[in-house]
Symmetry: C2
Subunit: 99 residues, 2 copies
């Protein structure tokens, strides 16, 4: 499996707008067999949010970036973002909550 942890810093006051777009992205992946997790979270910083993704493999994740819905959402989100950081790429081994 392939894991990705991404932290987004939004333009001031745009976090909720970006969250809505990312939740739409997650919904669009509900039936995508290679996407196991696409979870949005916030922490204490006002304009920061995190996306935790787990895919069957890196190639599946890469291919997903070409999906029309993903490309549209990236285009919509980009002007609302100040910084995007790929915090970690990892390999989930197992545990509770992995389908």
């Amino acid at each position: 499996m392939y894991g990705l942890w991404t932290t987004f810093t939004t333009q001031t006051g745009q976090r909720d707008h970006v969250i809505a777009l990312l939740l739409e992205a997650a919904a669009s992946l509900e039936t995508h067999p290679s996407c196991l997790h696409y979870i949005i979270s916030i922490s204490d910083e006002p304009d920061v949010l995190h996306v935790r993704e787990i895919w069957t493999d890196a190639a599946a994740h890469l291919a997903s970036l070409e999906l029309p819905v993903t490309r549209r959402l990236i285009t919509q989100a980009r002007p609302l973002l100040e910084h995007v950081e790929r915090v970690l790429e990892d390999h989930p081994l197992g545990g509770k909550g992995l389908m």
Copy 2:
């Protein structure tokens, strides 16, 4: 919801031993209703591993540390660890893979 991202640096060569203990911890939480995720992963660093936890709330997580099986596993793992870092505490909002 309450999320936790912890990075463990093990003593040299002890990663697999610690992974086994953490997978045992995850198995012990399978029926724990407040634990939604307890996922172990590795990245490219040889003696480093990550645990991503999602709980219904912080109190449930705190209480779980008092469970006999958790206390036993922490006692077994402690001498195998060089460093434990709580990388992030967050609040998962939604997305794919959250039960």
